[in-house]
């Protein structure tokens, strides 16, 4: 045993020594290369990003792809954490809202302010987005797009059959769902996964309490608003609307719910504008095959989330490639080309909408108006209302309420306040 201990100790020392040495040099990377971590790996998403790859190739920059899909970016963020821990910063990484700020706070993000000044990003990009792409006065990320979640996606044939019209209030929406039910169609296509339920609830909260209330409760996390009667009412509305789903909704993936609407098995889905990609892939056209309306009571405001390319603090020799990447990302031509494919709208408000379809045009106009009116709000479900700890605690509560672990709206509100408090 003693001998073993001695040999073990020697070997352990050698290993630890190995681990601690060599902290001086950094791994060299080709300076004409962009190393990019992202989770847009399949079909339309990859095709959309390919536009950027080609734009950069024209300027002579090679694209080193680091795709890690899974969990809506969770796997990629885990990989990013490991890369940063190892000291291998990518040139840029796809990131969401608060994650950018976390990394900026940790001091690993680069500074693009120079390029931003030259390209006029300060003016073109909505202030709400700049909250996440600018840290302590420095541009650290380039927003790629703006998704919005307060949409209704409706099958037009079913709508015509039941003689429905665009609902303007929550009550009208319920009346419309009743009509569909009477006609024997599943009224609401929902995937019973926490993020989908919470994404729908974002819209319900604004519809119930109005834009000011949404901002106070879900962006400012004002405790009085969170436990107000309005919030209880919102939970009651959620309880009302989930009665209109089919029995097998639980656990369903969002795209299968969209497929129900496309096929006419269901009337409406409440989902972010990425759902449009499914309609387009099924060769459906806006206004003739499907309708895109704002969730009733949220007209005039946009509950958004945005994909950003966070720019890391790379050594000087890789900086030029990074600046080229950021500039190309925020160029008007790329913003247009990319977002036409992706279903979202450009992250700058001065991009012409000529290439977009009807829903896209409406999205662009809405974003512009919301930006001017100050009704552009981060989606809490999508991680743009509060840091991930809080956003996920929120999803827990909504999902538990939908599936019956939390039984009343009073209890839901108490749980919400408690969960957010815990996560703070």
């Amino acid at each position: 045993m003693r001998k073993l201990m001695t040999s073990t100790a020697i070997a352990a020392l050698a290993l630890s020594g190995l681990a601690l040495t060599g902290l001086t040099t950094t791994a060299g990377a080709a300076d004409k290369e962009v190393q990019m971590l992202h989770w847009w790996t399949s079909g339309g998403e990859a095709a959309a990003l390919n536009v950027l790859k080609q734009d950069l190739a024209k300027e002579g920059y090679a694209w080193k792809d680091v795709p890690v899909a899974g969990g809506g970016g969770d796997a990629a963020m885990t990989a990013l954490k490991a890369m940063v821990a190892a000291g291998n910063y990518p040139t840029a990484s796809q990131m969401l809202g608060y994650t950018v700020l976390d990394y900026a706070q940790a001091g690993v993000m680069g500074d693009l302010t120079e390029a931003a000044k030259k390209e006029g990003w300060d003016k073109a990009v909505p202030a709400a987005l700049q909250k996440f792409s600018v840290y302590e006065g420095k541009w650290v990320a380039a927003p790629v797009n703006v998704h919005s979640v307060n949409w209704l996606w409706i099958n037009k044939a079913v709508m015509d059959k039941i003689g429905g019209t665009q609902p303007k209030t929550f009550e009208e929406l319920i009346a419309l769902l009743d009509k569909a039910k009477a006609a024997g169609v599943t009224p609401l296509a929902l995937g019973g996964q926490s993020w989908q339920e919470a994404t729908m609830f974002d819209s319900i909260v604004e519809s119930t309490g109005g834009p000011e209330f949404y901002k106070k409760a879900f962006n400012d996390l004002d405790e009085a608003s969170l436990k107000s009667d309005t919030m209880k009412k919102a939970f009651d509305n959620l309880a009302t609307i989930v009665k209109y789903v089919d029995p097998n909704y639980s656990g369903r993936d969002w795209n299968l719910a969209t497929a129900m609407v496309i096929k006419g098995d269901a009337l409406v889905q409440v989902m972010g504008d990425w759902a449009k990609g499914e309609f387009v892939a099924a060769k459906k056209k806006p206004d003739t095959d499907f309708l895109c309306y704002r969730f009733p009571g949220t007209e005039g405001s946009v509950i958004y989330n945005s994909d950003m390319f966070g720019m890391f603090n790379v050594p000087k020799d890789r900086k030029a490639a990074q600046v080229a990447l950021a500039t190309a990302t925020l160029s008007k031509s790329f913003q247009s080309a990319f977002n036409v494919v992706k279903g979202s709208v450009p992250a700058r408000t001065d991009v012409p909408d000529t290439a977009f379809d009807a829903c896209g045009k409406k999205g662009i106009a809405d974003l512009k108006a919301a930006n001017e009116k100050g009704t552009l709000f981060g989606s809490l479900a999508q991680g743009y209302g509060a840091p991930p700890a809080i956003a996920n605690a929120y999803k827990d509560v909504v999902s538990k309420f939908v599936h019956g672990q939390i039984k009343t709206s009073e209890e839901a509100v108490t749980q919400l306040v408690q969960a957010i408090d815990d996560a703070r």
């Binding site: 073993l4 073990t8 070997a11 926490s194 656990g251 700890a389």
Partner: protein
């Protein structure tokens, strides 16, 4: 242990020339030392690191200023929040159900299949890969196949309705109280074939003389297995138990691919909790604390078992 494989007299190196003898003396331990050192540094060192982090305020990134046991206080409080169930409460109760059923069924089924396979059957070469293949396929995709298969609107139930058995009803995957059992089903499907392979290797490693002797003594097949073969497989049980217990504890992708967490998070296991808090929710301290609690719980279960297994062997 058996009469043949008594392990008691530990082999001692032969005594020959001093230097060579001394080398021979320490050689086994020199051979073992690197593995053991690696384990100490990369397992126990990292456990210590995790334990340290659980007492800090680490969020997105590790932070090294000790701030007390707040993470444990939260977990402790969540442990008793059963109505509505906290995610942690759901995770640990699911772990108890899942762990018990998964390990138990896999062991029983694996042994049963191995015994059947060991009856000098034809076509063993075909059957073996059939039982093993679930391990080979990535669960990201088999999870989708299972999800469809268990979905009342898409898979088994709909098909049986189609064939006229309309009273058939199976919607566990949609039910917050039963969803964890569908995880057990898929998990057993995935791992039991490998357990079968382990037992089969064990059976094949048993000296056939022993079995012949027992048969000559007039033992029935049942007696042969109960009294002689299964006791001889005890070390295999230990291996299988460890492998299964470790898979049970690390069954993260199983839950995600099959249930996306289940209705209202009702299918969560502690590994989901750990991953969620460490990487998704940026509450590394809580994630680390849950890892430490899991390790302590495992050791509370495993250490007595190991103690009894290993101590008996050494006698």
């Amino acid at each position: 242990m058996s009469s043949v494989a008594t392990t008691e007299p530990i082999l001692t190196p032969a005594k020959s020339t001093p230097i060579r003898a001394r080398l021979q003396n320490v050689l086994p331990q020199i051979v073992l030392a690197p593995s053991f050192a690696i384990t100490v540094v990369f397992v126990y060192g990292f456990i210590a690191w995790t334990a340290y982090l659980s007492f800090t305020n680490s969020k997105t990134f590790p932070s090294y200023a000790l701030t007390g046991a707040r993470a444990y206080q939260r977990l402790w409080r969540w442990t008793f929040e059963s109505d509505p169930p906290s995610s942690w409460y759901t995770s640990i109760t699911n772990m108890a159900i899942f762990g018990f059923l998964y390990v138990g069924i896999c062991l029983a089924l694996g042994l049963f299949l191995a015994i059947l396979m060991d009856q000098k059957i034809r076509g063993e070469g075909v059957l073996r890969p059939i039982f093993l293949y679930p391990m080979a396929l990535s669960f990201i995709v088999t999870g989708v196949a299972w999800k469809w298969f268990l979905d009342p609107g898409l898979g088994l139930e709909q098909t049986l309705h189609h064939f006229g058995w309309t009273s058939f009803h199976f919607d566990w995957i949609k039910n917050k109280d039963y969803v964890i059992y569908t995880v057990v089903i898929a998990g057993v499907w995935q791992a039991s074939g490998f357990v079968m392979a382990m037992f089969l290797a064990g059976l094949r490693g048993i000296d056939s003389e022993i079995m012949k002797a027992a048969q000559i003594d007039g033992a029935t097949t049942g007696q042969l297995y109960r009294r002689i073969i299964i006791p001889l497989l005890r070390p295999v049980f230990l291996s299988a138990f460890i492998v299964l217990a470790h898979m049970a504890i690390k069954s993260y992708d199983l839950v995600v691919a099959l249930t996306s967490g289940g209705p209202g998070g009702s299918a969560w296991l502690p590994s989901n909790f750990m991953y969620e808090y460490t990487f998704k929710r940026n509450e590394m301290a809580v994630g680390s604390a849950s890892a430490i609690i899991m390790l302590m719980t495992i050791s509370a279960i495993i250490v007595p078992y190991l103690y009894s297994e290993l101590k008996e062997k050494a006698r």
